[in-house]
Symmetry: C2
Subunit: 304 residues, 2 copies
Amino acid sequence: MSLLVTGSIGIDTVETPFGKRDNVVGGSAVYFAYAASFFTPVRLVGVVGPDYPIDLKVLLAAQPVDTQGLEIRPGSKSFRWHGSYVADMNNAQTVTVDLNVLAEQAPKIPASYLDSTHVFLANTHPKLQQDMRASLKHAKLVVADTMNLWIDTSRKELHDTLKVIDGLVLNDGEAKLLTGEKNMIVAARKVLGLGPKFVVIKKGEHGSLLASRIEGSEEFFVLPAFPAEKVVDPTGAGDSFAAGMMGYLATQSVLSNSVIRRAMAYGTVVASFTISDFSLDGLRATSRQQIEKKYEALKGVTGF
Amino acid sequence: MSLLVTGSIGIDTVETPFGKRDNVVGGSAVYFAYAASFFTPVRLVGVVGPDYPIDLKVLLAAQPVDTQGLEIRPGSKSFRWHGSYVADMNNAQTVTVDLNVLAEQAPKIPASYLDSTHVFLANTHPKLQQDMRASLKHAKLVVADTMNLWIDTSRKELHDTLKVIDGLVLNDGEAKLLTGEKNMIVAARKVLGLGPKFVVIKKGEHGSLLASRIEGSEEFFVLPAFPAEKVVDPTGAGDSFAAGMMGYLATQSVLSNSVIRRAMAYGTVVASFTISDFSLDGLRATSRQQIEKKYEALKGVTGF
C-alpha cells in the first residue's frame, strides 16, 4: 500500500490564548504527511516558493515521507496564513492570507508516485482534485477534504468531484453549507446521495460522525473527541485527523465499516497530539508507541 | 431500592420548528418521574395549583409512579412556562414564565417516602435542596441538578449543597458559569473539587461527560448523544437523561464508574425518546423493551 497526499504547504503565523508563533511550518499537506507517516510511508505533493524559511526535506526526513513531489518553484512565493484563535478556539479568525504559489499551476505528480493505492486530496479547488484523481489510475481509495470557499464558489465542480471519490472528510460547518441541513445525521446522508461511499463529519471538540454505505445499507458511527484539558493550537487538527484515518486505512487490506471506525479513532488520537502544541511540535514529540497507548486510552474513556 | 424525585411540575407552552403545543404537561419532576419509572418505581414530590389542566394522578398511573407526594394546593396557581426553540433547537428562549406555586413553600415529603435510598433533587433553590437532603436520612445516593439562576443569585447556598450531595448533573453552560472554565474537562474537575463524588455534564446534541472520583482516582468518560435525525421538542431532555441514569442506578447494588457509564447510556437513550415528540408523548409511546433495543443500538453506533 502507498499513501499519497496533495494539498497546501504554508508559512503560518498563529495566535492562541497560549501565545503567538511567527512564520512556522503549516499547511494541510504537511500536517497530513507528518501525521500519517506514523502509520505508513507517505508521498507528498506540494509546492512552495524559494522564500520558504525551513528546509522541509530535512524536517520530514525524520519520518518516512517521500518529498520527491515537493516542488520549490523559482520566482514564486509561498502560501502564507495568519490566523487567530484568541477569541474562539473552535474557529480561526483569518488575519491575513496570501495564496501566492497556490493560485498558480498545480504541482506535478512524480512518475514514481503514479502507482499510489491510497490518496488524500487535501483541501484545494475541486477541479484540481478531479485532475489529480484522474492521474492516479491505481488508486483504490481516494478521500478528499473541501472548504466553504469551494462550496460557495465552485459548487458544480465540487459535485463532479464527489462523483469520483470514495470518501469525503469535512467539518460540520461545511457539511451544513454543502447540504443546507443543520442536523448532521441528515446532512451526512445527503452527502452520501452526492456520490461518496462514506463521509466523515468532523465536529472539533465534539468529535466526529461517520455515515457509510461501504457495506450496502447505511451505517452510522459517532465518536467523541479525546478529552483534552489543554488545547494550545487547533491548527492542523482536521488534517491530522484525516491523516491518522488514512494512514491506518492504508495499512489494512480490506475496507469495512469497522475498519473505518478504528481509523477514525486513530485520527482522533493523532489530532489530539497536534493540538497539544504549536505547529508540528505536538506531532514531532510523539511516536507510534504513544499513539497506540492513547488509542487504548480513547477506548477506555469511551466504552460502556 | 426506592427512587424519590422532587422538582417542578409545570404547564408548558412550547414552540419548535415542528409546531406549537399549548398548556401541555411539563416540569422537571414529571419528565423525571415518567422516564425513571421504566426502570424502577418512582416517588414524586411536587406541587401544583387547582388550575392544573390534567389529572396527573391518572396520567402517571400508567407507570409505577407513587403520587402521594403530589400536592394540589388550594388557592395557588401552577407553575407556567412558555418557551420557543424556533430560532435555536439547542437553547430555549423563554417567552414567559410564572413561578406561581414554585415561589411558595416547598411541598412536604410524605412519611412513607422517608426511607428512600435514591434521590434526585431536580433544579430548585439550593437551600431547598439542602433541606430535602437533610430530611432523607436513609438516602444512599443523592444527585442534584441546578441552573444558571441559582449559580448567579445563590452561589454560596449552592456551594453548601454541593458538599452534601453525591453527584451533580448540569449542562455545559451551567458548568462554565459555575467554574469559570470553558474547557469541560477542567470544569468537571473543578466541580469535583467543590464536593460531589461525580459530576455529569450534559452537552445536548454533543452528548455527555462524566468525571468521577467514586473509585479514588479521577476517571473520565465521554459519550455521544444518540444520533437523532429529527428532534421535535428538546424540552425535558436533560431531566429524562438524569431519569434514565438514576432509574438504572437505583436498580444496581453497587455504584462503580462502569455502572455510572451504563447509567449514562440509559439516560442518553431515554432522552432520545423524549425529544422525538412534544411533552411526554415520546416517553408515553415507548417501553422498557424499546429502551433496551435502543441501548444496544447506542452500543452499536459508538463502539470501535
